[in-house]
């Protein structure tokens, strides 16, 4: 925004809170405008009173240590110097191979460059990468897609070979590569830089699950299967390395982080589910193999049943959800069959029930930072369903999710009728067969 104003001849100063300093500077660099004028106020702005914000304006810019208003005014009036005029342009092409070195030194290099999740990796030697590339019929230099840490950052491009490199690092085997390529091609990053520490969870459907020996039983969402673990981790590492990084303060701003970011991929228990598989619901054939990508991971509610008071329990979990992030439900087959016995013979019926029963008073719905930033402007602009939610009286109960935002997956080892309600907006369901 600021860059485009400058280009239309309008001198501009962008104001940020101090924690965003390094991020704002590297975004300016990536936009080809490293000399962009920026001024900073203390963190946080959210929840501060007007008086407190006035002290920010009359106070000191915590980054430059000079008066804030002086920074702003000089940013608009101080004449451009030589350096400002030419702007900086650079071709950041990435090398294919690194300088040869000992194993110990290379492992340290990968850690110090933030190329790993700080757990041990398998070094991507030429031999191992060539081996991994046998897992697909596609050419190593074929462009798989683009990724970026968030929508105001520039897209980076990735090839089959670069995906293979990160797959080797994760400990994956060649037969897993088509799944990993599909996840990379989804265009959804598993390393969002958002201050809300999001994570990306992927569900695999179709014949590929059994071809690779994926787990949909006991310990399905845990460290109990090679394919689940390696595919999830490959998706996490390629997101980090193929989008320009995920470095705290620069390309990662998640205040509290998310442990799901290590590895979070599993297979639906289609054979033991009373309902239609997820990918078939999204238009794939049962014999197709597909990967679904859920963006969220911010809350995880849990329960058993359905027991006698299941409606109260599920309602409590739905209304405790963060209402900018819709849930997807993971039901153990025992729980799924329990719901079928109650008459929910189709996933859609239970989804409908959840949408009808996820209720909050309007007052609480609007008292949320994300809703204010993302949804409120849309409501004001008359976009439904937000506009009606805005009209509701403070104590009026409103439905916080639409049915089409909620999904259900069946997985578990049937040692307990357990279920989980995980924050996850289904952003994409992509073909795996296309990458065989």
């Amino acid at each position: 925004m600021a860059a485009s104003l400058e280009q239309s001849g309008v001198p501009t100063v962008a104001v940020h809170t101090q924690v965003f300093a390094r991020l704002a500077k590297s975004a300016a660099l990536a936009n080809g405008m490293p000399r962009m004028r920026q001024a900073f106020v203390p963190q946080p702005v959210v929840d501060r009173t007007p008086d407190q914000l006035r002290t920010y304006i009359e106070g000191i810019d915590p980054i430059s240590k000079r008066p804030f208003v002086q920074e702003v005014i000089e940013g608009l009036t101080k004449p451009l110097q030589q350096e400002d005029l030419k702007g900086v342009s650079f071709e950041r092409s990435t090398p294919r191979l690194l300088k040869p070195d000992s194993e110990e030194n290379l492992h340290r290099l990968f850690v110090e460059n933030h190329w790993t999740d700080f757990l041990p990796i398998t070094l991507p030697t030429e031999k191992r990468v060539a081996e991994m590339l046998k897992g697909t019929s596609h050419a190593p230099d074929k462009i798989v897609g683009q990724l970026r840490p968030t929508y105001f950052r520039e897209f980076w491009e990735l090839t089959v070979e670069k995906v293979a490199v990160n797959a080797v690092m994760a400990g994956a085997r060649p037969e897993y590569l088509p799944v990993i390529l599909a996840l990379a091609a989804s265009g959804i990053t598993a390393r969002s830089s958002s201050t809300t520490s999001f994570a990306t969870i992927s569900v695999i459907n179709g014949p590929i699950r059994n071809e690779l020996g994926m787990n949909s039983g006991i310990g399905v969402m845990g460290p109990y299967n090679h394919a689940n673990a390696a595919i999830g981790r490959a998706y996490a590492l390629l997101s980090q390395n193929l989008q320009g990084g995920s470095v705290p303060g620069e390309t990662y701003m998640g205040s509290q982080g998310n442990w799901y970011a290590y590895s979070a991929t599993f297979a639906e228990a289609e054979e033991r589910s009373p309902w239609e598989p997820l990918h078939v619901q999204k238009g794939f054939e049962p014999t197709d193999s597909a990967a679904s990508v859920f963006f969220g991971g911010w809350y995880t509610h849990a329960g058993y049943g359905p027991r006698a008071t299941w409606q109260d329990k599920v309602r409590r979990c739905l209304s405790a959800a963060e209402h900018y992030s819709p849930p997807f439900l993971v039901l153990d087959p025992i729980a799924a069959r329990g719901f079928v016995e109650l008459g929910f013979d189709k996933k859609e019926k239970l989804i409908e029930w959840c949408a009808k029963n996820a209720l909050l008073p309007a007052r609480e719905y609007w008292d949320n930072q994300h809703i204010q930033t993302l949804i409120h402007p849309l409501a004001v602009a008359g976009v439904e369903p937000y506009a009606t939610r805005l009209k509701a009286k403070p104590d009026e109960l409103i439905e916080i999710f639409e049915a089409k935002q909620i999904n259900i997956v069946v997985a578990g080892g049937e040692t307990q009728g357990a279920w989980k309600m995980i924050s996850g907006d289904l952003r994409a369901t992509v073909s795996i067969d296309a990458w065989r």
């Binding site: 925004m1 485009s4 104003l5 400058e6 280009q7 239309s8 001849g9 001198p11 501009t12 100063v13 104001v15 809170t17 965003f20 990536a30 080809g32 962009m36 106020v41 959210v46 304006i57 208003v69 702003v72 005014i73 608009l76 009036t77 004449p79 451009l80 400002d84 030419k86 702007g87 342009s89 650079f90 071709e91 950041r92 990435t94 294919r96 191979l97 690194l98 040869p100 070195d101 000992s102 190329w115 070094l123 030697t125 030429e126 990724l147 929508y151 520039e154 897209f155 491009e157 090839t159 070979e161 670069k162 490199v165 690092m169 390395n241 320009g244 204010q372 930033t373 993302l374 402007p377």
Partner: protein, 96 residues
Amino acid sequence: MAERVTAHDPRGYPPKVTGKRLASRLDNLERKTVYLVDCLFDNSEVFMEQLRQWFAARLPSVDARIIKPRQSWVDDPDMRARIAADGSAAILGVGL
């Protein structure tokens, strides 16, 4: 020396970045119109109002006007066109 290994570089390919020039600066803000762009962040409206009041109190000759894009995170060309047409400078905040 431990046996040396060659490994791949795990990073993706960044887009080619072309340099862009900054707009030339004003000699001063006297009698100029400065747009205060509220980026719709939670509470940034209150911040921009305080900034407007600061200008009105300290630099009354500056015509500071608050303006909002239609949607957060999305470029708003019409709003930019209006700023370019009616304004001489812009202050954006508070966020990215």
